[in-house]
């Protein structure tokens, strides 16, 4: 599982305060904690600062990379902010995220076309949120082909079919799961990603739902997720599920995690 650590996000109060105070130690600590817990990317988001987003996002990238030897997932639809962040980023960054929404697409495509950047591609268009598997496949088809035409390699694309809350419609869980299966089938070699915790919005006991959903999504082929890497229960769900579906050779990761006392 390619884990994108979600904790450096300005919509969290403590992070917002740390950004305002330019408190680098707090940001560094969140970055290194996530790096020590299997994150492959450190997501950075300064979206609540409309005016200063470019400056703050670049600062977050620099500060996070001082503490974690990992690439960042640059989480913004604002081309100025993405550009500023890329300028200071070391290694190959991930862009979170492009979609078929015209403004977002036109803003971000010039920055990513022909690069080696990793790209999260949201199954969303100006026509609204996709509901059925078919809606998602249609958007994905156009978006993935556009990205390929812009010289972005298939294996650098993380397609996100959008998780919507099952509290609102009982078909939203399977709508996502079946889309993961269909997308990985259709585009061999593509990665998938999602903000998984949306599934449990509006319900109590969210942790339990999120973990169960992760296990189901892994069975369908999900191989990337934006999560809190410090959530031990979630990590346990991932490690055990990956061993069970044959994605862990000789159960090595499972055994390593067990011996390290990582299971909840």
């Amino acid at each position: 599982m390619i884990i994108i650590g979600e904790l450096i996000n300005s919509s969290r109060k403590s992070v917002k305060a740390a950004i305002e105070a330019k408190d680098a130690d707090t940001i560094r600590k969140i970055a290194s904690d996530q790096a020590e817990n299997n994150a492959a990317y450190i997501d950075v988001n300064a979206g609540t600062f409309v005016e200063n987003e470019p400056e703050y996002l670049a600062w977050l990238v620099q500060t996070a990379q001082e503490a974690a030897d990992l690439p960042c997932a640059i989480d913004s639809p604002n081309p100025k902010a993405v550009e500023a962040a890329l300028k200071v980023h070391k290694g190959v960054a991930m862009i979170n995220s492009i979609s078929l929404e015209k403004e977002r697409y036109d803003n971000l495509m010039p920055l990513i076309a022909g690069t080696d950047l990793k790209v999260v591609a949201l199954c969303m268009s100006d026509e609204g949120m996709p509901v059925t598997v078919d809606d998602r496949l249609k958007i994905a088809d156009k978006l993935v082909n556009d990205l390929l035409k812009s010289n972005i390699a298939l294996e650098n694309i993380f397609i996100d079919p959008l998780v919507q809350p099952v509290s609102v419609d009982k078909t939203y869980g399977t709508g996502f799961l079946d889309s993961i299966e269909a997308l990985t089938e259709k585009f061999k070699g593509i990665h998938t990603a999602c903000g998984l915790s949306n599934i449990s919005y509006g319900l109590p006991g969210r942790k339990q739902l999120n973990r169960a959903f992760m296990i189901q999504a892994i069975l369908k082929g999900l191989d990337g997720a934006i999560i809190n890497p410090l959530d031990k229960g979630m990590q346990t769900a991932i490690t055990t599920a990956e061993a069970l579906v044959g994605r862990d050779d000789y159960c090595m990761n499972y055994l390593k995690a067990f011996r390290a006392g990582l299971f909840e």
Binding site: T48, V50, N78, E101, D126, G128, P165, V168
Partner: protein, 209 residues
């Protein structure tokens, strides 16, 4: 006062059949249809809204209650004064331009409808001028703006400004909500009210109705 607690109990437990049956029973007993609507269903949904705010009831239960209510209203319609067209107020609602998220907006629509409001739902990605036109055409007393993204929050400000510039601001109250929206933000952009969830939104609308 007629005892309509059976209706409320059924609403609170998401018992759709029970709601319909107890409404039918009340009609058969000769209870005035408007009384059943106001003191049974609408006040029952007020309790649902409150329990949603306090975290005692969850979205699926609220959806179930609202669905039960709208089915029960069909039974009452032939007996209501004005055929049920007499409402406590009119809300124009939409998700602001650039934002396609509709779940929160739909929940609010449902709750204010259940509170007895007429609702004009403009959908998602609604431009400021579309809100202005809707106010001119529909003459609502409340305009409700939704946004889920931090990036579309500035569009709420632009929508409030557009309503002010077009000269319709005094006819309406503006209420705002959505995950990144706070009371502070609502005050800053000159909205009249903020609610954190759909239960709160219906209560807020009622207080302004």
């Amino acid at each position: 006062m007629t005892d309509l607690s059976a209706i409320q109990d059924a609403l609170l437990t998401g018992d759709a059949e029970g709601v319909k049956n107890s409404v039918q029973e009340a009609v058969d007993r000769g209870v005035d249809a408007d009384t059943i609507l106001n003191d049974g269903l609408i006040s029952g949904m007020d309790i649902v809204g409150e329990k949603m705010q306090t975290g005692e009831m969850f979205i699926p239960e609220v959806l179930m209650a609202a669905k039960s209510m709208s089915e029960a209203v069909e039974i009452l319609k032939p007996f209501l004064k004005d055929g049920g067209r007499n409402r406590v107020g009119h809300v124009v609602i939409g998700t602001v331009k650039g934002d396609l998220h509709d779940i929160g907006k739909n929940l609010v629509t449902m709750m204010v409808e259940s509170a007895g409001f007429e609702v004009t739902d403009l959908g998602v990605d609604v431009a400021p001028e579309t809100f202005v036109e809707a106010v001119r055409e529909k003459n609502p007393n409340i305009v409700a703006l939704s946004a889920l993204l931090t990036t579309t929050m500035p569009m709420m400000q632009q929508t409030v400004d557009a309503l002010a510039e077009s000269g319709v601001r005094d006819q309406i109250k503006i209420i705002v909500g959505g995950a990144p929206v706070t009371r502070e933000f609502a005050d800053r952009i000159g909205a009249d009210g903020y609610a954190a969830d759909a239960g709160g939104a219906s209560k807020l609308a009622k207080s302004m109705g």
